[in-house]
Point group: C2
Chain length 165, copies 2
């Protein structure tokens, strides 16, 4: 028998993401819509050595826990469309495993603190992982993108629909 | 006081990734090095509705638990270089939070099963999340990539260094 979703995956928080955004409403829904907005990533001291040489990268992936996302919904009307789609065909935060993924620009590293730009993340978000952005691995500029390619909606900031109060 | 890494983040497994790779040694280290190799993603039935409309996307992000990664190491000699770097400046699996991130090509969706290509993932890997690949959000082809831009190593498959036996 296949193991089902009672399997709990325990991961470690490695730090905290600080941004100007205290609530979902008005927060950019993707880094591209938060262009130029700065934040900081405070990595716990015990993990600081893991950041050595990160400063050579123009962009980094932040992987984080969407700790204020609302309960999982499988079928959602996303911010950038008027029609519902399966949640895995959207980037909406109300996912069964609420993991956030954002590529931000890395401006500076000072010890265990990163200064970043293009943030679309709520203040005080728990950080799970950082990975370097590598265009050869991550950039597929011509990839067909389903309903995103045809939507006429151009919403760039969140409202309250996917978050707890 | 800042909360430290004793915070445990509980996430839900949503399915299983099936691939031809039974052990780390010989497994491609990135999707680009597994081009054409096919796998399947079996999403648990209770989450199947969340896949509606995913078939419109040429590529999807798989976010998964690196369940056979070795213990976290903060300073590693990665597969594609001869010098050590901080683990967060590499894509090595031996991370404090062992989360894997792979962009794979989506060939077909049949109900709750996805047929995918360009896999770099071990067989029977627990799946945590699926997100659509959206070039406007995810593609930065000119992004400077630190030591990856200057390395002379061209290793494309893993060995045993970052995994448990």
């Amino acid at each position: 028998m296949e193991k089902r979703n009672e399997t709990t995956i325990a991961l470690r928080r490695i730090g905290t993401i600080r941004t100007p955004y205290r609530e979902a409403e008005g927060t950019p829904i993707q880094p591209v819509f938060g262009a130029g907005v700065e934040g900081t990533v405070d990595v716990f001291e015990e993990f600081a050595e893991g950041l050595v040489d990160l400063e050579g990268f123009e962009r980094v992936w932040l992987i984080y826990w969407l700790d204020r996302a609302g309960p999982a919904e499988l079928f959602v009307v996303p911010y950038r469309d008027a029609s519902p789609h399966g949640v895995f065909a959207t980037r909406a935060p109300s996912r069964p495993s609420p993991i956030g993924l954002s590529v931000v620009r890395l401006l500076e590293r000072r010890g265990s603190t990163l200064r970043v730009a293009d943030v679309d993340i709520l203040d005080n978000t728990p950080l799970l992982d950082i990975k370097p952005y590598v265009p050869r691995f991550d950039a597929h500029p011509q990839s067909r993108a389903g309903w995103f390619d045809t939507t006429r909606a151009d919403r760039r900031v969140a409202d309250k629909r996917f978050h707890r109060d």
